[in-house]
């Protein structure tokens, strides 16, 4: 099945009209040697055959619907309203191109404008772009913005930023002779003294995540204060779900707020595609990476929307562009937009509350277990770290749990050697009291049996 409407018959008619006798005539520029290769590939398959294969591959995975999962760590399970799928599946949204022709793209353009507004409301920032690839690249772009704006090449970041985000950051700044200083997080949050010491005139930006990788809520106000004693940008990496109740970056005067918006109506998808959001203070507008939609009027004075400030972008500025990004995550931004409209003002507040209530309920229940310890300090949002008694391996705990239909927490030692026997647990609104109680009961079992 190849989705090609033209038949051999069409081909002959077309070649006749073009006055060529063989198709090869069109390929004369290609060196002969390049035409001789074999493709050791399978035979084309029919739709039912293909779909059977894909279904089987899907079923060879144990998905979070078959089990109760306590995994988080940057990718989160939340309820997704049915209408998100229904509306985002309209082919006018998913089979259309980037809205470079505003006359036939007002749908997409207005969605971007509404998305930008919603992200500004959530974060309390002035301006949002139309999306970046994901949270990690959004954070890296923030660092690049700072480096170029301040013409300084030192970046300070907390060690409690998602380890993979920090890896991406390091990769991105390769070739820019930039020094990255990581600040320790003794009890789960940033060591302020260390930060003060590290900060200097050469620092382009301070990067902090809150709730951080361990779920702990950082004292962003204080960090912001310290940072702004210097000509340095304060970059906050936040979880949009938490902003239903937690203080938004705008309220502690962050210069840039970025993060992962997969949580806003997008599936786990084994890690992608996700949705990087990027919001800024007004004065950074001309430095903003990525597309932006703006309101304007058409020739008849009607309100309409168009991509704007494109002079920042690669297709105009080429090597002088603020970023190289072109294709972004429009469809996921649409889903986030629908999601935020569906939950609405009250819903996002209730959602944040549910996440806090349930994670804290679990925290209290787990606290009662001997053989386990809760090592980091409060406050936290919907994740926290559980430490097992030294002789019990996290791996074997998770194997045990899986047999009980539970996907346990994430082992931390791979990234934080000092945190051996620690697992990062996440409890969102999708976990019922019953399932939390079951989880705790199973762990109790372990503490006794193992």
């Amino acid at each position: 099945m190849d989705y090609i409407p033209n038949t051999q018959y069409d081909k002959e008619i077309m070649m006749k009209e073009m006055g060529i006798s063989s198709f090869e005539a069109l390929l004369k520029d290609i060196p002969r040697t390049l035409r001789e290769f074999s493709l050791p590939l399978h035979q084309g398959l029919s739709e039912p055959q293909v779909f059977n294969i894909l279904k089987n591959l899907g079923e060879e995975n144990i998905n979070t619907n078959k089990c109760i999962s306590f995994l988080g760590a940057g990718a989160y399970e939340h309820y997704i309203p049915s209408i998100v799928d229904h509306l985002a599946s309209r082919s006018e949204f998913y089979t259309c191109y980037t809205p470079y022709q505003p006359e036939v793209s007002q749908g997409t353009l207005q969605v971007i404008y509404e998305y930008q507004t919603l992200m500004c409301e959530l974060t309390g920032m002035d301006i949002s772009n139309a999306s970046l690839y994901d949270g990690s690249t959004a954070l890296a772009e923030a660092a690049l913005l700072a480096i170029h704006l301040k013409e300084k090449n030192k970046i300070i970041c907390s060690r409690a930023i998602h380890p993979e985000y920090r890896q991406v950051l390091k990769t991105y700044v390769k070739g820019l002779h930039t020094e990255i200083v990581e600040i320790d997080v003794p009890e789960g949050t940033m060591d302020m003294d260390q930060l003060e010491k590290a900060l200097d005139d050469k620092t382009a930006a301070v990067l902090v995540q809150s709730p951080n990788f361990f779920g702990c809520i950082e004292d962003m106000e204080a960090i912001s204060g310290i940072t702004h004693k210097y000509d340095t940008l304060f970059v906050a990496c936040v979880n949009p779900i938490s902003l239903g109740l937690l203080k938004p970056p705008g309220e502690y005067s962050a210069d840039i707020a970025v993060g992962e918006a997969q949580v806003l109506g997008n599936y786990l998808n084994y890690g992608g595609p996700y949705l990087g959001f990027f919001t800024i203070k007004k004065d950074l507008l001309r430095r903003m990476p990525g597309r932006i939609a703006g309101e304007t009027v058409d020739r008849n004075g009607r309100r309409c929307f168009a991509l704007t400030l494109q002079a920042r972008e690669q297709h105009i500025r080429r090597q002088k562009a603020t970023s190289n990004i072109c294709t972004n995550q429009a469809l996921l931004a649409l889903r986030a937009c629908i999601y935020l409209c569906a939950l609405g003002k009250k819903g996002m507040e209730e959602l944040a509350n549910l996440n806090i209530q349930k994670s804290h309920y679990a925290y209290e229940r787990l606290r009662t277990l001997n053989n386990f310890r809760l090592v980091l300090k409060k406050p936290f949002f919907h994740e926290f770290v559980l430490k097992t008694h030294d002789h019990i391996r996290i791996g074997s705990i998770n194997e045990y749990l899986l047999k009980k239909g539970i996907i346990g927490g994430l082992e931390l030692s791979q990234w934080y050697p000092e945190m051996d026997n620690c697992m990062l647990l996440c409890i969102t609104e999708t976990k019922t009291k019953t399932s939390i109680d079951r989880f705790v009961a199973e762990l109790a079992q372990i503490s006794t049996t193992m």
């Binding site: 979070t64 940057g74 991105y172 190289n324 995550q329 429009a330």
Partner: protein
Amino acid sequence: MDQMEPLIFEKTSPGRRCFILPACDVPDKRITDLLPQNVLRKNKAELPEVSEIDVVRHFTRLSKLNYCVDTNFYPLGSCTMKYNPKINEDSARLEGFTKLHPYQPVDQCQGILSLLYDLEQILKNISGMSAFTFQPAAGAHGELTGMLIIRAYLEKKGEKRHKIIIPDSAHGTNPASAALCGYEVESIQSNTEGLIDIHKLQEVFTRDTAAIMITNPNTLGLFEKDILEICRIAHDNGGLVYCDGANMNALLGIARPGDMGVDILHLNLHKTFSTPHGGGGPGAGPIGVSEALKPFLPIPRIEMTEKLALEEHGIDPLIKSNKSPYSSPNPSDGPFHRKYLLNDNYPDAIGRVRAFYGHVGMMIRTYTYLLSLGKEGIHRVGEYAVLNANYLRQKLEKYYDIPYGKTCMHEFVISAKKQKKKGASALDIAKKLLDYGFHAPTVYFPLIVEEAIMVEPTETESRETLDAFVAAMIQIANDIEQRPETVRNSPQTTPINRPDEVKAAREPNLRWKKK
């Protein structure tokens, strides 16, 4: 019928609700008993208060203001707007994939890992490259990854090179990506044929040059006929060749960048491999590299504990057993007979270019597409893409000036210089096409063609559709002769026409605010 739609914020009404969450089933404590006041937000986020029917109608109406592949033809040069098979969507929406957490242990994810592994095998075959990474989120991201690999490779050899050579016909992301990685960009002018000038290249490709970024077929839709020579020059000077594979559609089953001597290639799954554009994304830009560059690919890499040579396979029995044709040569083997894993252990790797493993959802669509196509399908795609483009080219050259080439690969570029003089620019022609029910082609790119109109039909359009497009283009050519103002004043049939872009940029209004 389709009118403009108010903003959702203009529909909000206090107390309206749409999605209702389940009630809290754990003791619902006062929030300040759980969190200190100072971490809580002072001002509520002013999100909409609307009901389900409001949300459904709002976005349904907005969708109707969009043109899309499912309604008509996109002659968008450089974008390969081919039909997006529905079955690909069904595959990607399977719960077995959408509900998978990226940190589930590999034992729980053998299905998706084997899919990704197989996909790599297929792409290697199609492109002639030695290995692929799926991390890059889009073409530009692939370019950046490529640049980083080039830097790492050269540094490993103890070389510091500063320069990347890029033809003036290249896409904007190429220089932007090179610069992002700290390279100086040297632009090289195309020759009179619209191709890379070998002699010039000889001169500029110094020992300080890290690589040349080519696009083949280039953005004029022309095959770089000296490609072998180009690669030789680069390699002789200790440099590398990066190929922007956004135009791969023309080469499917026809020629392989790997065989040309290309060292790094990115593919746009959202172009050549039929994943939908989604109004601007998500896409995916996996890159393939030569054997020598493998060690530098980003981590993690997906591997199989047992090596697998494609030749060995009897595929048909697998199909019958509904097994993926590359993973499980023997249907009697269970799904786990081969074990897939993620390997981080590559000391020379450039690191990570994004969190997790890339746009898996797009990989699933691509894999579905390639299973459907199979060997013959892949050959036919390239063939009919080239056929369609040349058919359009020939029909239009009597009416429009096509400055470069006699034939083309997947696309060609018109210059509306002549029409411009008569009073209608490339932009006007583009807008007039909207009135005739077609999407506009890409205009003003590549930069080396004045009043450029870049047309790419792809293989998924029928002869009838191409003829209808030709008729519209001819009509416009005549309109310009007789009444150019009707072209300048277009479009007239769209919900709005020609937004004031100067106003948009001068007085940026980038978010709604309550009046």
